[in-house]
Amino acid sequence: MRPASRVREMPVLRVIARALVPMILLFGLYVQFHGDFGPGGGFQAGVIFAAGLIIYALIFGLGALRRVVPPILTERLMAGGVLLYGAVGVVAMFLGGEFLNYSALDPLTTGHHGQHLGIIAIELGVGIAVASTIMRVYYAFVSRRPGGAGAAEAPGDTP
């Protein structure tokens, strides 16, 4: 028998995961939106966010994660993140600048607001794309075939 099913019944792991996962997700958001002031940015934030959700799946089962983030949603968000990034560039063009010239996003002032806005928007696009790609890769691995760790969870996982 795989230990995976027994891991999920360990109370210590469950309690710690319950306390830690929200913290990890919150820290991911902090890294995401604080990237222009401290270390970090969209890429790291996306990885941390996805890691938090994967820990959730490891402890509470794949079915629990599927209810939070359905696999089809990860596919849409993968494309959505890239599109958000590109859209910022196109919006800058419509506002009279070059592609991805964020200064054009704020035509009234000649300064930094457009840059701040643009950086936050594209970092969000990066974060969404990275987090959903990692989740999608994780889904691809764990739902590969019966007998694997993911498949061990998949059938009997609805509580």
Binding site: V31, I54, I72, Y85, G125, R136, Y138, R144
Partner: protein
């Protein structure tokens, strides 16, 4: 070399040697994560916090989980390799080439190094002037090199689609819940 760096380097070396010798792939995957964490510590000491952050999150975090996911699809123990000379030769040759490459690099921390004089002063000055955010790394990645980063995001997207096509099968329109 300062003692903390030396300690981390030695631990890293020990971890890597153990990983190479282990036959238990589960333990090897865990130790790979530890090696990443030690590397992240070294990056912090070199003041490359953004890189350290990435190394810790990706190397120690997610890739360990993905290794475990891959392990659950295959066997837990490595097969005995019949020909052990050829892999060793390849690894030693690659390592020697990399070390040879470092001879051409400037000494670590050398203020006269080309990289500190070519574009860096310009970018540092322009970050303050045009972008006005404290993290210069973010300013360069997101704004000055916006095209590059867009390309990188597309690479990540493509990698995700590739894995999904190879392993998981992408969802089709009209066939919503099934995988």
């Amino acid at each position: 070399m300062p003692p903390v760096e030396l300690l981390l380097m030695l631990l890293l070396l020990a971890t890597v040697i153990v990983v190479a010798r282990l036959k238990d792939l589960f333990a090897a995957a865990m130790l790979t994560g530890i090696a990443s964490l030690l590397a992240a510590g070294l990056f912090v000491l070199m003041d490359a916090v953004d890189v350290a952050f990435t190394e810790a999150a990706v190397g120690a975090g997610v890739s360990t989980v993905l290794f475990l996911g891959a392990l659950s699809l295959t066997s837990r123990r490595e097969k005995q390799e019949r020909n052990r000379i050829l892999p060793l030769v390849i690894v030693v040759a690659t390592g020697a080439a990399l070390i040879y490459g470092t001879w051409g690099m400037p000494v670590y921390g050398d203020p006269e190094a080309v990289i500190h004089h070519h574009l860096a002063p310009d970018l540092i000055a322009q970050t303050e002037e045009k972008i006005h955010i404290p993290n210069i790394v973010t300013a360069i990645l997101a704004s000055f090199r916006g095209y590059d980063t867009l390309g990188e995001v597309v690479v990540i997207f493509t990698a995700g689609v590739g894995v999904a096509l190879l392993l998981g099968g992408l969802h089709r329109r009209g066939k919503e819940e099934e995988s």
